[in-house]
């Protein structure tokens, strides 16, 4: 078992137009190791979300994977028939989207939704999935008594944590998070991401974290890739990319983000 979990090699993704096509992802290659937190940064439209959807082969028309390989643990996902791909999704590769908190069925209690997902992928019984759900709730810091509540009874941040919990319940090897906290407040954002770090250490899954906030990525990830107009312009260790970026665009991206004035770094201790 090698250290590399996911290898993207020379990936090309086109958006089909009425006449011709537009290459949204150009010859992108990078690797994610086991237990690694890899961040993909870039502005809107640079192609990072397109890659996320391509990995799980959920690209919606008109996005079309034109070439390259997506190798998960030695297996090229692009060459799998759909039936095999369904076994990969959620069980081996989980996804958490920006509006995932809105993807919970408003008419079903949360424990029922756990059961729905777990049963479909592992065939477990109701009591088994309930036990799992309680364990996951504990993990993401939500009182287990609330397991039979409806989604609307939770705040947006808590719903996002529930979605992450459902994702984790299947023990995937890789979780793709596409702007999971962009719609949330900074405090909630930090709550969720601190949790992701701890969970990641406990369970050993890898994370592909997609965002346009470089500073957030630098706090969270081990390695970072920067994308510009479909191309990967820089990849490297977080320290290297943040402190001595090699590419002009990376530097520009760092400098463009509003930061607190230097003297206000606080540790957040309560009185």
């Amino acid at each position: 078992m090698s250290d590399t979990l996911l290898q993207i090699r020379n990936l090309d993704v086109d958006y089909l137009l009425d006449k011709g096509e537009f290459r949204a992802v150009k010859n992108v290659s990078f690797e994610i190791g086991r237990g690694e937190l890899f961040g993909l940064a870039g502005e809107s439209g640079c192609g990072k979300s397109t890659i996320a959807y391509a990995i799980t082969r959920l690209s919606k028309a008109p996005a079309w994977v034109a070439g390259g390989q997506i190798i998960l643990d030695g297996q090229d996902l692009l060459k799998l028939p759909e039936s095999e791909m369904q076994k990969v999704r959620w069980k081996r590769v989980g996804m958490v989207f920006q509006s995932a908190m809105n993807s919970l069925n408003p008419l079903m209690r949360v424990e029922a939704q756990f059961h729905d997902v777990l049963h479909r992928h592992t065939g477990c019984s109701k009591s088994q999935s309930r036990a799992q759900a309680e364990a996951m709730f504990k993990l993401v810091g939500i009182p287990t008594s609330r397991i039979s509540d409806y989604p609307h009874q939770f705040s947006g941040g808590m719903r996002q944590r529930i979605v992450i919990a459902i994702c984790l319940a299947l023990r995937p090897e890789l979780i793709i998070m596409d702007e999971p906290t962009t719609a949330l407040d900074v405090v909630v954002q930090r709550e969720i991401l601190e949790q992701v770090i701890d969970l990641q250490r406990a369970y050993g899954f890898s994370v592909l974290f997609i965002t346009h906030d470089l500073h957030l990525m630098a706090q969270l990830c081990h390695r970072i890739g920067v994308m510009l107009k479909g191309e990967l312009v820089e990849v490297g260790d977080v320290k290297q990319v943040s402190q001595s970026p090699a590419h002009d665009y990376t530097r520009k991206l760092w400098n463009a983000i509003p930061q607190l004035p230097r003297q206000s770094r606080l540790t957040g201790e309560t009185a």
Binding site: D185, V186, Q195, R201, A218, Q219, A256, L260, L266, T270
Partner: protein, 310 residues
């Protein structure tokens, strides 16, 4: 109980004043004890998480909502009660708003030219096709957009940042004295936020506007506003001069907010999540109860201390 505004009076008279504003929605107390002033040529940032009441505040100032108690003053006059249609129209000329969503703030069927000519025509700032056209060009140039290229375009042909600039231009076309910016950059990429914020700061100075900047991102507040009000659960918890509040935050909630701002040089530490969650919950629980006392901790720095713990 009335709390006198705790802002030192600067050279100009405040153009908008909120005095002890309260807003109830049935049993829910959305705002209480809100007192602040907007001064021409200066910006005030209203910072807090979603649901803290900052948008309700903005709506009250923009006259899209009425307070249930307290006074709203415009140029010193008490205008809390709805006035005549003429009064309302006059107020509209003075107070304009820039909305959060750059995508839904523009009508998809009309060109940028139309969007900017309408306010000019409505308020008769220019008469005649040529004059209006020139005015539109000037507005576009002032917000950093190429007039010739942009005027003919439709909203879907512009990027988020460009759309937001058009929204600002439209608000300015009315020539207001107060601009309320409700989370103007929250839906934009982090890398283009500074551009918009710098534009707002520039315009504030050039046009001597009183700017109310609403955001949940305290880091941006520091770049735009001389004064800041931190809100939580409908109350002002800490306010005053931005440097003082951010540099020497006294209220636990402010400290929590500041600690949560993404900072690339401080990576997350493994094993900290439970502690942070617990701390966040504790701060929120402590900050919620109403407290009417105000403590002054600096020449322009005020804190609402936590109510005595039970």
């Amino acid at each position: 109980m009335s709390i006198a505004p705790h802002f030192p009076i600067i050279a100009s008279e405040p153009v908008i004043q909120l005095e002890d504003i309260e807003r109830r929605f049935g049993p829910i107390q959305a705002l209480r004890g809100i007192s602040l002033s907007l001064v021409p040529g200066r910006a005030l940032a209203l910072v807090g998480e979603s649901g803290c009441g900052k948008t309700t505040c903005a709506r009250i100032i923009a006259r899209m909502d009425q307070p249930t108690a307290g006074k709203l003053r415009f140029q010193g006059r008490d205008i809390t009660k709805t006035g005549t249609a003429e009064d309302e129209r006059a107020y509209r000329r003075e107070v304009q708003m820039v909305f959060q969503d750059p995508f839904s703030s523009l009508n998809p069927v009309f060109s940028i030219e139309h969007h900017l000519s309408r306010p000019i025509l409505l308020h008769r700032h220019a008469v005649g096709k040529a004059a209006v056209s020139d005015a539109v060009s000037e507005l576009l140039a002032n917000v950093g957009l190429d007039p010739a290229l942009t005027r003919r375009k439709f909203p879907h042909e512009l990027s988020g940042g460009q759309r937001q600039r058009v929204n600002i231009a439209r608000a300015l076309a009315v020539r207001p004295s107060v601009l309320v910016a409700d989370e103007p950059t929250s839906m934009l990429d982090v890398s283009i936020r500074m551009g918009i914020l710098e534009l707002l700061a520039q315009i504030k100075q050039k046009e001597r506007l009183a700017l109310l900047y609403i955001t949940h991102d305290i880091a941006t507040a520091a770049h735009v506003a001389e004064e800041i009000v931190v809100m939580f659960a409908g109350q002002m918890v800490e306010w005053g001069e931005t440097n003082a509040v951010i540099g020497d935050a006294r209220h636990p909630y402010t400290q929590l907010l500041l600690s949560a701002v993404p900072d690339g040089s401080r990576p997350f530490v493994i094993g900290e999540s439970a502690r942070f969650l617990e701390q966040a919950e504790k701060v929120r629980a402590l900050s919620r109860p109403t407290s009417t006392t105000v403590e002054q901790v600096g020449p322009n720095h005020f804190v609402r201390p936590l109510a005595a713990a039970s």
